[in-house]
Symmetry: C2
């Protein structure tokens, strides 16, 4: 008996099916799955092709697949009947109770979530992403007035990916500023940050993990020594405490978790939602 | 009667609850909702506070809220009983049928999806993000051997955000290269790209939309004239066709849709999943 296959099926991008399916599968840690995404199944022909692929796989593996579907168009959903396995149909499951609560029929039209977008919404993400790129790593500080949030921390503490995620996912304007050795020595924030103290959020990280990350980039030199790394982490945390800056430990957190923690603790508004 | 409020409730980040809720709500286009995310409800106290907030809102608005919940721990879920509204409980709905199909009990433990992560998984995203940043805008071409994909297009066609999204969401190594005026004039790709032709994917965009975007950045000058913009778009598409490069129009697509289209058409493997 082969490893069980999980299919993510959609008449759109499949992002929703993947996200929801992953959340459910992580509740079954002991099991491993092959994973296949089949997006853009927006015609009967494509649905039929997907069915052949799924049924063939089930036959070969001798075990039914798990299928997460966000097919939303009725004629596609009615057509999509795999021979074996468990079909989890997100829209079919929840739309009826929502229709009843909202006293409205759902559109059952594709191309809504993650699909065609108005350009204003698109602009928000692109502009926020450009802002994150232009205000990365303290290279520019004159636009801090426009920032929703400014992440501060030592080199390689996770500032850049968190800023980019905040921009792409939520349209939030996030800048970041790396603490220099002088600033860490003095335990003081630079003048350029002081008017924006209310927007500053600190990132910290376990020293051993930081050393491991830095060594991956620069194997030799003081930058990656345990002495240097420990000093920087301790000094950064002391600085956050002195300035009463909220901070979060990035060591064991995913980027999603960091972004969600920061938004939740600061009250910064999402301009868009996933 | 006030606008109905939608709550996204989670003992983790709330990302899954938001994704589920957004997908379903987009099926009811005519309605508008206030949206509130309450993440990290991981103690009975926090659940009780959330209940007060939700019940108070329902009382004030005179209409029941819609609540999307991904509470996974049993004692929290049992505690979470709002007085009014529709509760859509994601795990409660799907875990029983998955347990039965997989012949296994789910862990009912929090901190899985988007939560605690092994560092290898984290590294993939960070490394892919660094790769996208270092190989943005044609500034470096010597690492193209390591690229999974190289996006090519005119300035402001959407290359950078798409690369960053591919990196952050899927751990895919995506570089991008802007076509210069000389290359567009000659209708030829530069030598540096030729060994990587199989990895190249083109982006194009409607000329009017491109002009609008460029004007937002540089209101005057040739860069934003309709003549220049039209020439570049036509020349880029001709170049894609000459070299038999697949390309996608970014004008009306979300970043999710672009990323999903590119992965689907190229067969590039996701290193991680959302």
């Amino acid at each position: 008996m082969g490893r069980r296959t999980v299919f993510f099926i959609s008449d759109q991008t499949g992002v929703t099916a993947e996200t929801l399916g992953q959340s459910l599968l992580t509740q079954f840690e002991a099991q491993e799955f092959d994973q296949v995404t089949l997006p853009f199944l927006d015609t009967i022909d494509k649905v039929d092709q997907a069915l052949v692929e799924i049924d063939t796989k089930a036959e070969l593996q001798g075990v039914g697949p798990i299928i997460f579907s966000t097919l939303v168009q009725d004629h596609l959903r009615e057509r999509f009947i795999p021979k074996k396995g468990l079909l989890i149909d997100f829209f079919d499951t929840f739309l009826p109770s929502l229709e009843s609560e909202l006293h409205a029929k759902s559109s059952h039209k594709s191309g809504r979530a993650h699909g065609l977008v108005d350009s204003g919404h698109y602009d928000q993400r692109i502009e926020a992403t450009n802002f994150a790129l232009n205000n990365d790593d303290g290279t520019r500080t004159r636009d801090y007035d426009r920032a929703d949030i400014i992440l501060v921390g030592v080199s390689r503490s996770g500032k850049t990916p968190t800023c980019l995620y905040l921009a792409l996912t939520y349209g939030v304007y996030a800048a970041n500023y790396p603490l220099s050795e002088d600033e860490l020595d003095a335990g003081m924030l630079p003048d350029v940050l002081m008017p924006h103290l209310h927007k500053i959020y600190g990132l910290t990280i376990d020293a051993h993990r930081l050393q491991q990350i830095r060594r991956g980039r620069r194997p030799t030199g003081r930058y990656s020594t345990m002495q240097q790394v420990s000093f920087e982490v301790r000094a950064a945390e002391a600085l956050f405490e002195r300035h009463k800056i909220m901070f979060v430990d990035t060591t064991r957190s995913s980027i999603e978790e960091l972004a969600s923690t920061i938004l939740s603790n600061t009250g910064v508004e999402r301009r868009i939602r996933p």
